[in-house]
Structures are given as structure tokens and as C-alpha cells.
Symmetry: C2
């Protein structure tokens, strides 16, 4: 059909990304706790750009070259040699304005690299803090979409699924969705939509972040819609505010 | 802790099976449409055993050696050289009693082979027709459990997830469940529990089976609890009624 709608698929784990054709698609990298929330926060607060890299050593080396901040985590903790972590609350305007953030994380930045390796047409990052910006962009682009959940070390997680569901809830009229993972994601999101913060304690990741690291404020920020409503768009190695 | 409960995890795709430790676990192979429903049906109706194999050519060769029935499908259709398909309704007592079924399918028998390759301690097959037998066995064994969804060519599907959720709904008091995919599966199942047949048309697989192959009766059987309530237990190359 000439006027058929573009497709939308939800990929529940980086280990399933190879099943999807990214060549003509917008890929939304989703790592709600916390990489893609941190990326939105840094750009919203005036960072010049965020450079996602897949290794700690690369982040350190590159940050020196570009006079940037080497930040990120491994297994949820600040890794040796990085000066800042992966908390969206660390990047206030005072601190981050006009600076370059070089970010490496366990799941999100790795998935972004995988999407690059699979020749994704367009890559953006999404999380609740920039939900509306992501949805508006997907509708405007009118191109196939793959919602890529970063998960936790290739395992499924619910918070990334909730975000995928929130996007689907908003944009579904504009896409052909014939994919059980998308239907599941939407239903999971609708189940928690009205009181998402109260559902957070059921997340495996909540226990890791709150009980081990005390990051309750991070959780709250990462599950709040449109508090850093910019669109991080990947271009030539950097995520820039579109 | 000495008396801690065994763990239960849900694996949403064969492509994620490597993330789980199967060495001391009961693995439940789940392929609701239709391999594991067909296995339950054949054993319930008196088959001597079901031999799962991963290739069509192997199924044909082996069926000749054991004087069995070479059955199965590729992409939902009877494959060349197989005499019977993957429908649970093909295996009535008249036909299957005291015979050996050599079965090869796109997803379920492949996942079983993967679990064998990962040295699973115990392998059983599960589907709605034998829901109670599976749950009773898992409780009695009191061992770690991995619910393995076969999906469709490594993609997530809802019907296998529903079955995983149905098992969790029944056995959860007996296990430590700290796994987002299990929580999601249970919630998805609870959402459809009261009228599962009415929810079937939302499944991607429903369209493949009903619109392309007219298999509405198969769908109904495969989503009905305890209509072939036996426990297929894998032992030395065969699935036998436990």
C-alpha cells in the first residue's frame, strides 16, 4: 500500500536486537535507570553534548582530549578513573552548562553502540524525563521505529518496558504495531500509569538502586515525565539536543 | 540460609537462555502454540513416548528406525517428508496409542535441545493442557526452576508468557522470585485469566494460525487448562509420561 503506516517494534533486550531491521528505522535507546535519563538531564541543563562510549578507559582518554567530564558506572557504581557517576541529579546547569559529558554505562551506552553497528538510520535516546520530545519526534519523522530496551546485562526489565509502553500509548495511531512485545509493553504501562511511583518498589532494579545505593531521588526523577524534555539525537559520535 | 526457597526465573526467548544457570534447575519448555500442547496431548492419549529432534531430516530417519511417526512443522506448516503435523488434535487415542511420535518444530524442540546443551538438571514440557501436572511437579521437586518460553524465532510471544504467568500464579509461594520477567508474566496472565479465549485474537500468533491456516480449534485446545494433564519428562532422548 502506498500510504501504509510505518511499523513499530519493541526489542526487550540487547541480545534480541539482531532480530530487527534498523536500516530504515529510528531506534530509541531506552535505559530508564539511569543512562538515558542522565543524558536527557545533562542536555536539558545545557551540556554542549554527550559522547556515549562503551568502555571506561575510552571515556577517560576521550574526556582528556575534549576537555570533558568522564562519567558513568559499571554495575551501578562509579567505576575507577571516572570523575562523575550516572545520576541525572549530578548534572545541574551550574555544573554542566557548555561542557561535554563523556558517558559510559553498563547497559544503555552499550546498546547504543550495538545499534550503530547494525547501521541504524537514526538514533535517539528516551526516558520518562523526555517522553514528549521522543513521541513528537517519532510522529514527525514518520519512519519505522524500534524501541530498544537496554535491560540489565541482557535481561528483561520492567522500567524500560514501561517507557516503551508509554511511547506506544501516545503514538500508536501513527504506526502499524504487530508485535507481542509492544502489546505487552503497552499493557504493562497502562497497569502502572496512574501511580507509577508507587509501583517502583516492585522493580528488581529498585532494590539494587535504593537498598544498595540509596538512590531514591534518582528513581523519582527517572520515572517523572517531561522534567528534562529535550531530544538527544545521535550524530557523528555525539548526542546533541535536536 | 539453610531453608531458603528455591529460585524461579522466566526466560522470555531462547536467545536469552544462556543468561540462566540450568545445572541445578528444572527447566520447563513452553511452546503453547503448539509443540508442548501436542506433546501433552500425544502422551495423554497413550503415545509410548515423544522423541523431540531439531531437524526434519533427523525426524524422518529416526522415525524409520523406531517405527514411529515423523511429525512436526517448519514455519507453522507441515514440512516435506513429515507424515503428520504439529496439531494436538491429530493425536487421538485411536491413532497414537502405543506409538512413538518423533517431533520436530520451529521453536519448542529447538529450545529443548538448547536446554540439553546447557546441561539442565531436569527437563519437562508445559502448556495449558498440562498446567496442573507441571505445577504439582515443580512444587514436589523443590528445586530451582527456569520457565523457558520458546517464543517465535527468538522473538517474545504472549501465549508462552501467559503460561509462565499461570504457573507463577499457582506456585509462587514455594519459590523466591526476584525477576522482572516473572512479575511481568504473572501480571499479563492475571490480566487475561478470567477470559483467556477472548484475548486470543490479540496474539500475533493467532493471526498466523487462524487467518493463514484455519486452526481455531487448535488455539482453543492449547489455551484450555488440564485437558491433557500429564507430565512429559525428558529422559535419555525421550519425553515420557512421568
Amino acid at each position: 500500500m502506498m500510504h501504509s503506516k510505518p511499523t513499530l517494534f519493541t526489542c526487550l533486550s540487547p541480545a534480541l536486537l539482531h532480530l530487527y531491521d534498523l536500516n530504515n528505522a529510528v531506534v530509541v535507546i531506552i535505559d530508564v535507570f539511569r543512562a538515558t535519563s542522565t543524558i536527557a538531564s545533562a542536555l536539558y541543563n545545557g551540556a554542549r553534548c554527550v559522547i556515549p562510549v562503551d568502555e571506561v578507559a575510552k571515556a577517560i582518554a576521550l574526556s582528556k582530549n575534549v576537555d570533558g567530564i568522564a562519567a558513568g558506572e559499571r554495575d551501578g557504581k562509579l567505576a575507577d578513573g571516572l570523575s562523575h557517576g550516572n545520576s541525572p541529579l549530578e548534572y545541574s546547569p551550574d555544573f554542566i552548562s557548555n561542557r561535554t559529558l563523556v558517558l559510559t554505562t553498563t547497559n544503555g551506552t552499550r546498546l547504543l553502540q550495538m545499534a550503530l553497528d547494525q547501521d541504524a538510520h537514526t538514533i535517539v535516546t528516551g526516558s520518562f524525563p523526555n517522553l514528549s520530545a521522543v513521541c513528537d519526534f517519532l510522529i514527525k519523522e514518520n519512519r519505522n521505529v524500534v524501541l530498544g530496551c537496554a535491560g540489565w546485562k541482557d535481561r528483561f526489565n520492567l522500567e524500560d518496558t514501561w517507557f516503551a509502553g508509554a511511547v506506544i500509548d501516545r503514538v500508536k495511531e501513527h504506526f502499524t504495531i504487530h508485535c507481542d512485545s509492544s502489546h505487552m509493553a503497552e499493557q504493562q504501562y497502562l497497569h502502572v500509569k496512574e501511580n507509577i511511583h508507587e509501583h517502583a518498589p516492585q522493580l528488581t532494579h529498585y532494590h539494587r538502586l535504593v537498598e544498595r545505593f540509596g538512590l531514591i531521588d534518582d528513581i523519582r526523577f527517572c520515572l517523572t515525565a517531561d522534567v528534562a524534555n529535550v531530544l538527544p539525537l545521535y550524530k557523528e559520535g555525539m548526542l546533541l539536543k535536536a
